[in-house]
């Protein structure tokens, strides 16, 4: 009897876990994984909330860089001249325009386009 209950619990548990996916708290905004979001959907999101979406992707890039080799956007920019032209809007424009031009890409690909531009423009990395 106990065995049957254990098996039943395992089956139900497995079934429940198969259906479980990470979702934001009901009512919250945004998407759970911006990196895997398609550019076509990102374009729609960006139209409806440009500043917030740009911040989301830049935050994703910060996490990506730090996980990769412990750097951050700020540390990359620190190696450039003061009038390097990079700011919130110009940084965002790279992945925003990439997604507009390539709606079939993921946001991660668009974000990496910015990372490559940043790395290429940093003297220490050239």
């Amino acid at each position: 009897m106990v065995k049957r209950l254990v098996v039943l619990a395992l089956v139900l548990g497995a079934d429940a876990s198969a259906d479980t996916q990470f979702r934001l708290r009901p009512g919250m905004t945004g998407v759970a994984d911006i990196g895997t979001t398609g550019c076509a959907f990102f374009n729609e999101l960006h139209y409806n909330g440009p500043t917030g979406m740009q911040q989301q992707v830049l935050t994703w890039i910060q996490g990506y860089l730090y996980a990769k080799d412990g750097t951050t956007i700020d540390s990359l920019l620190a190696g450039l001249p003061a009038d390097n032209g990079w700011n919130f809007d110009t940084l965002s424009a790279v992945f925003v325009s990439h997604c507009k031009a390539n709606p079939d890409d993921t946001v991660a690909v668009a974000a990496l386009a910015l990372v490559e531009r940043l790395l290429a423009s940093t003297p220490a990395r050239q």
Partner: protein, 348 residues
Amino acid sequence: MAPRTDSLHRTLPVWGACQKYTLVFTMAVSPPHEALGMATSTAAPSGRPTPPGSTLWRAPYVGIFALVSMLLGIGLAHALMRAIEEALGHDLTYVAQLFIGAGAIVWLWYGVRSRNENFATWTGFFTGIVIWMTWVELYYMYYGRKVFGMMPRTDAGTVTTEPEYLIMTATTGVLMFMLVFYLFDKDTRCNFFVWFQDRLGLREGLGTSTRTARDRNYAIITFMETIYVTWFCYAWNLLVFDPTFVGYGRDALPAEVATVFVSIAWGGFCLSRLLRYRRTSTAVRYGIPTANILWISVEIVSGWGLLTEIWLYPQKYWLQLLGLTGAFVLLAVLIYTAPKKASEIGEW
């Protein structure tokens, strides 16, 4: 009050022009009534037509015209806002909305100074809509999308609520406490609040209204009515679309179905009353809540995919919207120039 009207004519050339155009419209619209075999309106001593002789401008037609024009007005206001947004782009729209709203307040100033209930009512309605679109919705849009950096709410790969509406949902509490003023105001004439005042036993405590119909300023009354009714219906709609309360997808269906039921039942009740109206100005004012309450069903049903909200895509459906705009303008002009009782045009 008559001397005030006279001084208005002296001080406000634009208002004088409005009166002149009203007369021109009346003359232009009158012949079709006769051509349709309808009785011509009888002339009042002042030379103005009066409603009793008209077979068109009587119940239930007045109510029907008022409702249809208000429904068209709501849809077209959506389209206008979206068209401005698409034409100017977000950043320019944020600047333009300040001036468009200011222009509406100037127009409202003319309406508030007028003793003509007909002009004041339409002024209040139009300026209320414009202020809602500009100083409310676009201002929320500016802060939500641009300054605060909010993201739209999404579900299953689609945008379900834009940032401005997320902010608006948070104003529900502000709306509710502001409505308390109307609930406890003895001069409130809104049937909804009067019904509550009676049920709450407030009639004796509040005392009789100190204002008569002549004392009322219909421009600001209609302006505030348009704003509050729109705000209330938005809040209601947004709460039904809020997954925090109703859940996602099929979980939200019971709340949505209940909302459609209440909307149609309540709106239908209002419509049954509206169909008895004979004064066009009163019908327009009563048509505002009636149309807005019924419109809640339109939003929900559109969310179910049963309707295409063409007013949200002015570029794609420009021809259809042009036709609807023409219908709205014609209907508004007809109602505006319809035979009026003396009290509706400031002649008491």
